[in-house]
Symmetry: C2
Subunit: 344 residues, 2 copies
């Protein structure tokens, strides 16, 4: 099969197919261009509702924090309901959803982003994610904890202060349910994890690997959808963020720093993305099939201002991409590990 | 169940659940605002590669068309391949994809949009869609024909000239496969169409109906994801666009005109959306289970410049919406059928 010709690839984690049209970036672009992202200069902004000591829209005042800081979202999409009810009336089916939405400030300094932070400070963010996953997950009504970051206005982020979110909820989200199913059937058959075996193949072929250290590998998955989509996978079969050893936490921080640095270096811009950690649900079951991984979905395609639109065909038919996973991996791999804005 | 509280709703066509958080629009928005869309004034633009008589990037010259006009996309994501091959190497699975991408100009006049066109001119577009579906679908290698429109720069449209696209391909896209499965199992059980029975309930309850005429109904589906998502459904169980009677074509044109007019009236802007027609695959089977429908996915949420972002949580977990389907339906229904820019 010629990889330059249109083809479909299979996502072994979700069971979905995606369309790849590598020849298509040749088309001229007269469409929308986005505002280039500016790095911020001020470490404190009095109008930012995430900076230390500031008052939020709810009237709550942020502490004068210096470590990563988490609090309940003032405008949460999920709230804690006493009971779960089910509704059915003919073709209308619904059920109430209970949950907690948290905001996680990565740093006190308003002008930072993950790639501009020290690896040791990213470690502190990981320790807070662990604490949140443990505490939220231990609540009886929380069966899933979704840790994620929307970075950049292009990805719907409404505040540039370095932060992510956590939505913890009663039901298992669709994406997670799909990934549980495939990992489970593989684990029941083979006794080892699907992703563990998959990254062995990727580490051997090297073509889609963008970075690795002792405990982690960052790859462009074979079935990537977003132009520069990547996945960070621990080499050891770890099901949840709380299972990492100290060395793994340190290496995890490092791979996040290097990968996001490479991203910024591609188009010399603060690279927007949504990232998310997929791991074992907190539904009281053991989930030995789960192999934790963190995915990055960045929208930029051609430049700092021209993104990929997931629209008509992508919404009604299949996700579609315009560069191959291998081309994207090569571009990311070739970027320096050193951020273009940080002096040597 | 309280409909103001967070809840999940079930999509009977795809089997997916979506999260609804109707209380959430109260949150302040400091995030991205989009450029408001301007209506165009000039009926002909010499730089537009879709206007009659102009030369396209490929060097091809458009005829001096006055009826809706279709041609092969010069930068097609799908191309006609002689044979289909399958690739498998461990965890890497792919297959080549063959197809044809078409561009459909709705009108010669550069400044028009569907709501600004006469219903009789929209009828001509439908007749062209029928012709394209018939011709593309009759090719041995084409098993599915996706007709869609990306309207507005916000939805990735790279040219404001009124146009849509058709991607015809060998394999059945994911969304269509899911909808085939559910409709089939219902049809095999009951001998009637799932959507037919569903709209009977909606027509009785009226709460989510935004417009109806003799042969069509436009509703906000109970499981809508996009803020003002709607679905146009023929009242008769019709599987493919080529099965419509002349009266149905006329009523179909009318419902498209009224619905897109109401959309423009909501925020007094040229309302962006992706729309798509889902209908029976062209794989040589009869598909009596299929009930054609046309969906509109518009991104605007709060105003002409603030859209809903389908990002972190939505990508990693579940689609999520901030206003209920019932609130959206009421807003759309209450809009005039008369476009705010057209003089009486
Ligand atoms: O074909 P166009 O109009 O250049 O491109 C637009 O529609 C396509 C089909 O939905 C998408 O793949 C592109 O991302 C979008 O910009
Ligand atoms: O919670 P925020 O940052 O206000 O909102 C952002 O992230 C949410 C979770 O992905 C999305 O639902 C919103 O559309 C997006 O703007």
């Amino acid at each position: 099969m010629k990889l330059e010709s249109p083809h479909r690839r299979y996502n072994i984690l979700t069971g979905d197919w995606i369309l790849v049209s590598p020849h298509r970036t040749k088309r001229p672009w007269q469409g929308k261009s986005e505002k280039p992202v500016q790095f911020l200069k001020v470490p404190y902004d009095e109008d930012c509702y995430l900076c230390p000591t500031n008052t939020r829209a709810s009237g709550n005042v942020n502490p004068d924090y210096s470590e990563p800081f988490a609090f309940n979202n003032d405008f949460a999409a999920l709230i804690d309901l006493e009971d779960t009810t089910v509704f059915k009336d003919g073709f209308l089916m619904a059920q109430s959803e209970s949950g907690i939405c948290r905001v996680v400030c990565f740093a006190a300094n308003h002008s930072l982003t993950l790639p501009l932070m020290e690896a040791s400070d990213i470690e502190r963010v990981i320790l807070l994610w662990q604490k949140e996953y443990r505490e939220l997950g231990s609540k009886k009504e929380v069966n899933h904890v979704q840790i994620f970051e929307n970075k950049g206005a292009m990805m719907g982020c409404s505040n540039p202060h370095p932060h992510g979110q956590i939505w913890a909820q009663n039901s298992i989200p669709e994406e997670v349910a799909k990934k549980t199913e495939r990992q489970k059937s593989y684990f029941e058959n083979k006794g080892v994890s699907l992703l563990g075996d998959y990254i062995k193949q990727e580490l051997q072929e090297k073509e889609r690997v963008v970075y690795e250290n002792d405990h982690f590998v960052a790859i462009v998955p074979y079935w990537a959808v977003w132009p520069y989509e990547t996945m960070i996978v621990p080499k050891r079969h770890v099901s949840r963020i709380t299972d990492f050893t100290d060395e793994e936490v340190a290496d995890y921080a490092l791979v996040i720093k290097v990968l996001t640095t490479k991203y910024d270096n591609i188009f010399k811009t603060s690279f927007p993305y949504s990232s998310g950690i997929h791991q074992a649900p907190t539904d009281g079951q053991e989930h030995p099939e789960w192999h934790l991984h963190m995915s990055f979905y960045p929208p930029l395609l051609r430049s700092a201002t021209v993104k990929k639109f997931m629209v008509g065909y992508e919404l009604f038919a299949n996700p579609q991409r315009d560069i191959s996973a291998e081309q994207a991996a090569q571009t990311i791999r070739e970027q320096s590990d050193h951020h273009y804005l940080i002096d040597v």
